[in-house]
Every structure is written in C-alpha cells, then in structure tokens.
Amino acid sequence: MSRHLKFVQGNVACAEAALYAGLEFFAGYPITPSSEIAEFMAKRLPQSGGKFIQMEDEIASICAIIGASLTGRKVMTATSGPGFSLMQEALGYAVMTEIPCVIVNVQRGGPSTGLPTHVSQGDVNQARYGTHGEHAIVALTASTHQDIFAITVDAFNFAETYRTPVILLLDETTGHLRERLDVPKKDEIATVGRLKTSVQQGVDYHPYLPREDGRLPMSDFGGAHRYNVTGLFHDMWGFPTESPKIVYGLIRHLVDKIEHNADQMTRWKEYYTDDAPTVLISYGAASRSALHLVENRRKRGEKLGLLELQTLWPFPHALVREKCRHARAVVVVEMNMGQVLQQVKLAVDQPEKVFLANRIDGELITPTDIQNIIHVIQGKGV
C-alpha cells in the first residue's frame, strides 16, 4: 500500500492539491456543494502555518484573498453558483489589477439557489462572461480525482505565471464523489512560485510595466516598493488614468496575455479520436459517462472517440477543430443547454455536424442517455 494513497472526495482532492501547490491563505463562506473545501482548509492550513478565515459572505471572501495575495501569499476561495455570482465584481477587480488567485466553483443546479445537492455544468459561460467589461479568463476542470489534483496545481501555476484569477469549475458529482487519489510526492508536479521583482529598494519599480516576455514581476505589500493598486484603468505605476492610449494598451494586455498563451494552458485527454467517425466532446462529471460509453461500445466494435476538455477558457478552438476534422458527427456531452456546444460549433469546419447530448434536471447524464441521443443522430443518416 502506498503511503500517499487516499480515498477522498473530489473537493478534498482539490484542497490537497492546493496545499501541494503552496496555498497559504484561504477565505470562504459555506455553501453546498463546496463546503468540504473550506472545512479541510480550516483544519489543515493552520497546521502548516497558513491561514483560513470564514468571511461574512462570498464577496468578502474573494476580496480577502485578493488582499492576501498582494502581500505575497498564494490564495484560494471556493464556492458554488450563488456564491460565484456574488464574486463576479471582485473577480473583475482581480483581472484588472492582475492579482493571482484561484477561485473554485463546485457547480450545482441553477439559476438562483437552484439545486444545492445536485449536479450541473451551467456556469461555463458565467466563468467567462460573468464579470463586466472586456477581458479574458482562465477556467479549468477535470473529471477524476487524480486529474482534479493535477489541474488544481495547474490553476495555481497559471495564476502565478500570468498574474490572473483562475477559475476551477468542478461540479457536485466529482466534488462529492469519493475515489482513490494518489497524492504525488513532493516535486513530482512542478509548482510555480510568485515572480518577484529584482528591482532594489530606492530604484523605481513599475508594478504594471510588463517585462519583454509579458510577465509582471510583483512586489509584496509591506515590502520595499510602495505603489498603488486600483480597479480603474491605470498606468505603469498603478495610478488611475483615462488616457485612451493607456486604456487601449491595458485591455490588449489583459486579453493577449491569456489568449496568446492559450496553447500553454490547454489541457485535455483523448480516447480513440483517431479513427472515430463519431467524436464525443465532454468535460467534468459528464465526461465520465461519455468515457464509460466509449469504452463499452469499443468492446462491441463501435468506433466512438472522446475528447475530454480540461481547459474550458481560453477555449481550445484549434484543438477541437483538429480532433474533429475527420469526424462525421461530433456530440457535445454536457449538463447545460449547450454552453460548450456553442464554442465547438465555432471551432469546427461544419457546425451542422455538431450535436448536443445533455441533461439539465440535476441528475448526472448516464451512458444510456448519451447512447440514445447517438442513436437519434445516426437515425438522421449521419
């Protein structure tokens, strides 16, 4: 028996990974189905000298982690749909001020308080478009505990590398599901530390002047350099400006630093996509059902393939286009009304070959549900 083998919920896998990635500060507010993450942090963070605080609401929680991040800490909060809605304002602030943080949204049925103990994947578009104004965002997901662990470490690494909030879109099924987790040994997965400025005290430090590689080294609040942070458009010193040239430059920077590095952030898994006339595209809990079906049908000689997306934003259009090039039918399996479906349609050459297999009733979509839809599609002569 391996010393690192655990049998835990997906929420705990995520929390374990956050500690592995170097989490030092967590602020949160209880909400089903994410509360296990906060409970884990309340117990474990003080044991490693880190800090957990239960704030008065989700708004305060995300604000607190942004404040803590600015002092040089790796930070995270976790919530579900209603709480994620409340966080949108400060999510925009983190985007604008380029403060690294990780926000976990264990999705449940919505809109509104919806279905607290039931699964959904309805927040894909909210993660991308929930906060106002033009910007880019990083949103990741995974379907097994081992992958949740790895993608959570990625989330911290991306947040630090690109100085951006990263959203982890888990779901009720994987969050509450218990299965095996092999906690990787130290250094088995690379972790990215905070990039700090090498500018010495007394020399001008420009908090918002990107280096040639586009990265912005940080200086901790309380450290050698005093500067300003604001959600207003700001110049390279961090002070408010309305200069059209600077406003344009900042928006481009905020979008480009994500979109231009999309390849570095694209994570996916594929199963039998090479020879499959029907390719399923799925993510999160839904992709477990899709894979179940694919493996079963393969045993019976039916050539189904699966592309499991782990990076949802920036959406990997090129990857999807490539993997679906030879497919006669593409079936997007998700638990919403087609939020990833829309992106897949944009990605492929023939949008008319893209179909939706979904479920929006709070129940995990089953392999049979997907099979039935494939039959209908095939009945259409595809």
Binding site: A27, A60, C63, G67, A68, F221
Partner: protein
C-alpha cells in the same frame, strides 16, 4: 512640512472640491502618522470607492483602491497575511455603511486590528449628491428631492454594538483633536472606528442651505460638544465628540496566531 514626506506630491493639487473636508481628514491623518513616527513601508491603506476613496492615491504608503464598500474585506486579507503592518481603511459613509455595511459589522465583530476612518459627509458626492445612510431624515439629495424619509445611523452606537473596541467621533473643524484621536485609534490594538464629520459644500451643503465650507465648519463648531463635558451636560441635543469606547478584547490576528500554535501542537 514634514507631513509632505508622506504625500505623493505629483498628484497635487488633489481632485477634491474647494473647501471639501476630506482634504482636512488627510491632513490630520498624516499628522497622526508623523507623530507616531511610522515607516511608510509599514503602512497599508485600503480604500473603497467614492470621493473619500481617492485619499489612498495621495499617500505614499502601500495603497489599494478597491471596490465600493469592500475595503474592509480586502484589508482583512492584508492584515491576516501580514499582521505586523499598520492597516488604515478610510471610507465614505455610503461606502462603509450602505454597500459595505455588512463588512463593517463583521470587521468590528472580529476585532481585527485596523483603523476604519468614516469620512461622513452625509452624501454620495462623486455620483452627484444622492442621499446616503447618514444623510438624515428631512434632508435633501438628488434622490431625495422632497426631503429624505430615510433615517440615519448613529455610527458610534452602531460600531459599539458591533463590537468595535475603539470608537470615536470628531470633525474637520476640531483638527488638533482629530489628529490626536486618529493617532490613538492607530495605536489601539483592535478594530478602531473614527467617524469624522467632513463637510461636502458642493453636494450636501448647497442642497441643504448650509452655506459655504466655512459656514459648515461653523456649524461643527457650534453644534458639537466634547463628550462628558459641562457643555455636553448643558446641551443634550448637540452631537458628542471624543472617544466613546476604548477597551481590550482579544484581537483577531493574535488569536489566530494562538490557533496556529494549537494546530501545530506548539502551545
């Protein structure tokens, strides 16, 4: 002037209107910081949104201009992470008590060591004079054209009830007293609230026939009395100034430090 060392002079003259009390609050705050001999690198100022919030742009500390009402939540993250820093949180009355009311109550309840300065001008100045939670019954604002039917909070009572361990009130007329109170508030170990009556001649004074900034300061002079003074006894209706609460209660970051010792088995 020694306090100028704490200013980001390149942004002066500041953006506040002629006669705005907020500049005087800044003035008094810097004098308090100077008297305490604090290092600029050890001070973090976190502000919200509104006229008041612009104060963070003018001081040469680590400064964070955040979201409307959320300054205390951001500041809580800063203070928890780096308890050794001095955290100052100036807020407007709408900032602190309307949109940020809940954050205010809970920061006070936790007794986390920071200094909340409520720059009470009784109006939303930056957005053009809409009534705030401190405007008061019968006053006028652009969203109270027939006279306000909303009642106002008493900041001192509210803060006290919420558990703040230092609660004081002063005005932009009583500048020596104000600087002294802010100094004590910063030194106090726990959540400190200083309410400063700060005139808005442009959007509150004018609309309520209170006259110029000078006349509004005259009102502060005449209509307020020191707490527990003879003048206060003689005039029960006048507004009290001074330190209302100054008490010891376990401070949040300290308590958390102890909790870490329990969790790691070091205690």
């Amino acid at each position: 002037m020694p306090v100028r060392d704490y200013l980001r002079e390149r942004f002066f003259p500041h953006m506040w209107c002629p006669g705005c009390g907020h500049g005087t609050v800044l003035n008094a705050l810097l004098r308090a910081v100077e008297k305490l001999g604090l290092d600029k690198n050890d001070i973090v100022m976190v502000s919200g949104i509104g006229c008041s919030a612009r104060i963070s742009g003018y001081v040469d500390f680590h400064t964070m201009h955040t979201l409307h009402g959320r300054a205390l939540a951001f500041a809580t993250g800063v203070k928890m992470s780096r308890p050794e820093l001095t955290v100052l949180v100036p807020m407007g009355d709408g900032d602190a008590l309307a949109i940020g009311g809940n954050h205010f109550l809970h920061a006070a309840r936790r007794n986390i060591d920071m200094t909340a300065i409520i720059m009470n001008n009784r109006i939303y100045g930056m957005t053009g004079g809409q009534f705030s939670p401190l405007t008061g019954y019968g006053c006028f604002g652009t969203t109270a054209p027939y006279g306000n039917v909303d009642h106002d909070f008493d900041v001192v009572e509210l803060s006290t009830a919420a558990g703040a361990t230092f609660v004081a009130r002063s005005t932009t007329y009583h500048v020596i007293e104000l600087a002294d109170i802010i100094k004590k508030a910063i030194t106090h170990k726990g959540f400190s609230v200083v309410e400063v009556l700060s005139q808005c001649p442009t959007n509150f004074g004018r609309r309520n026939q209170l006259g110029s900034a000078v006349e509004m300061l005259e009102t502060y002079k005449k209509q307020t009395v020191p707490l527990n003074s003879k003048a206060a006894q003689d005039a029960p209706d006048k507004i009290r100034r001074g330190i209302f609460v100054e008490k010891e209660r376990p401070e949040y970051s300290n308590e958390y430090k102890k909790m870490i010792r329990t969790a790691t088995g070091e205690s």
